[in-house]
């Protein structure tokens, strides 16, 4: 299909090189290093405040490390951030949803800014997270777990080769956790790469290839 688009599309190897970052007086990232290949999952653990979120935000280029680099396919990602960004999906604590839009509209605007989305794709993604029944409701009427599911639908819809997930199972019931587990498994089976920050066990049968523990 449309593989002539040179921007991004695969992440075969992601590498962090001696990432150092201070937040005011706090030395948050103290020389973080790892490598991640396709189809692999890196679990980042650590207590609250150990810098899990900071690490994810540094990896995706929102924060700039004072030392060290993030390399994708051996190239510094800061050399071409838009290309790197179009191949990744970052999901923070909060789903970027608007209370005054329906779940479906939210997904349409959120992902539509990034890639072409067809109605069928939207429906499929919403069905994937069991949201079909309430996807036309305004997000302000949804529960925290349901909002989380909408965010997961965005993840499923975006098809980015690299996922950066911050506590993806927060607020989810057992079924929801299963959905996260199977989404992660699918992504890995496809050859995608995942960095997931969570101090919980990864849901489902997923086992992280590597666990990176951040000391606080």
């Amino acid at each position: 299909m449309n593989l002539r688009d040179s921007r991004a599309v695969t992440v075969n190897h992601l590498e962090a090189e001696n990432l150092q970052l201070w937040r005011g007086d706090r030395h948050v990232l103290k020389g973080v290093e790892f490598g991640l290949g396709k189809g692999e999952c890196l679990q980042v653990t650590g207590t609250n405040g150990a810098g899990k979120t900071t690490l994810l935000r540094t990896l995706c280029g929102l924060m700039v490390p004072e030392e060290g680099r993030v390399l994708c396919e051996g190239r510094d990602v800061r050399a071409d951030l838009p290309a790197f960004h179009s191949s990744l999906m970052y999901l923070g604590h909060e789903a970027p949803l608007k209370a005054d839009l329906t779940a479906r509209e939210n997904l349409h605007y959120w992902i539509g800014v990034r890639r072409r989305v067809a109605a069928a794709g939207l429906d499929a993604a919403l069905a994937r997270v069991d949201a079909s029944a309430w996807c036309e409701r305004l997000v302000r009427t949804l529960s925290a777990g349901q909002k989380r599911r909408v965010a997961l639908a965005g993840l499923a819809l975006m098809f980015a080769p690299l996922w950066l997930l911050d506590e993806p199972t927060t607020n989810l019931d057992a079924d929801g956790q299963q959905v996260v587990g199977s989404l992660i498994a699918e992504q890995l089976a496809r050859g995608g790469a995942i960095v997931v920050a969570t101090h919980q066990q990864l849901p489902g049968a997923v086992r992280a290839a590597r666990v990176l523990e951040l000391a606080s």
């Binding site: 201070w22 937040r23 005011g24 007086d25 030395h27 700039v64």
Partner: protein, 245 residues
Amino acid sequence: MRWTWFHRLASPPYLYGLAARLTPWFAWPAALLILGGLFAGLVLAPPDYQQGEGFRIIYVHVPSAWMSLMVYVTMGLAAAVGLIWRMKVAHAIAASCAPIGASFTVAALVTGSLWGKPMWGTWWVWDPRLTSELILLFLYLGFMGLRAGFDDTQRADRAGALLAIVGLVNVPIIHYSVIWWNSLHQAPSVLRFGKPTIPGAMLAPLLILLLGFTLFFAALLLVRVRAEILQRERTARWISETLSG
């Protein structure tokens, strides 16, 4: 490498040491020039044939006004270097500039107002220079206010730097729009000076003072920049080595 001096300057320990060594070389000439210039301005310069002794205010007003603008330009340029090359010491310079510039802007406003009273009979005239000066004061206050709003020095540096650059682009626009505005309403300019006809005996003290104030700014900047560098580099090892050594 032609750029080594640039990289050396960008290194906080190097600049810290350099600033400490250079300070007296600026401070003492500045003190001499300012005292000499003020004496010359008050005593040696002949009175103006129109404004009498009152014109002597230019010897404090013009250098203050010059400082307010020059410091802003320095701040904006340092901010641009800091923002583009992520250079800590450039941010330290920009942050050091603001209080100095703001204080001299206040001085320029007060002295301008003190000049306006005998010349025009009111303490405040919406003269283009005074108006621009007042706007400049607000730009300084905005910069300092924005910096103060951040807990984290790094973000304060970068947000402040962007504002300083936007301000720098805007200063000429504001200045010319104010002149344009003033020309419509035909308020005659109070502060007339800088004409080439100004006699040498009156001009010389002014030039001495301009140089003196500029050197004074350099000396102040060198002292303040050391404080800012210390604050930014508080976790670095070279600081404890420098302090104990």
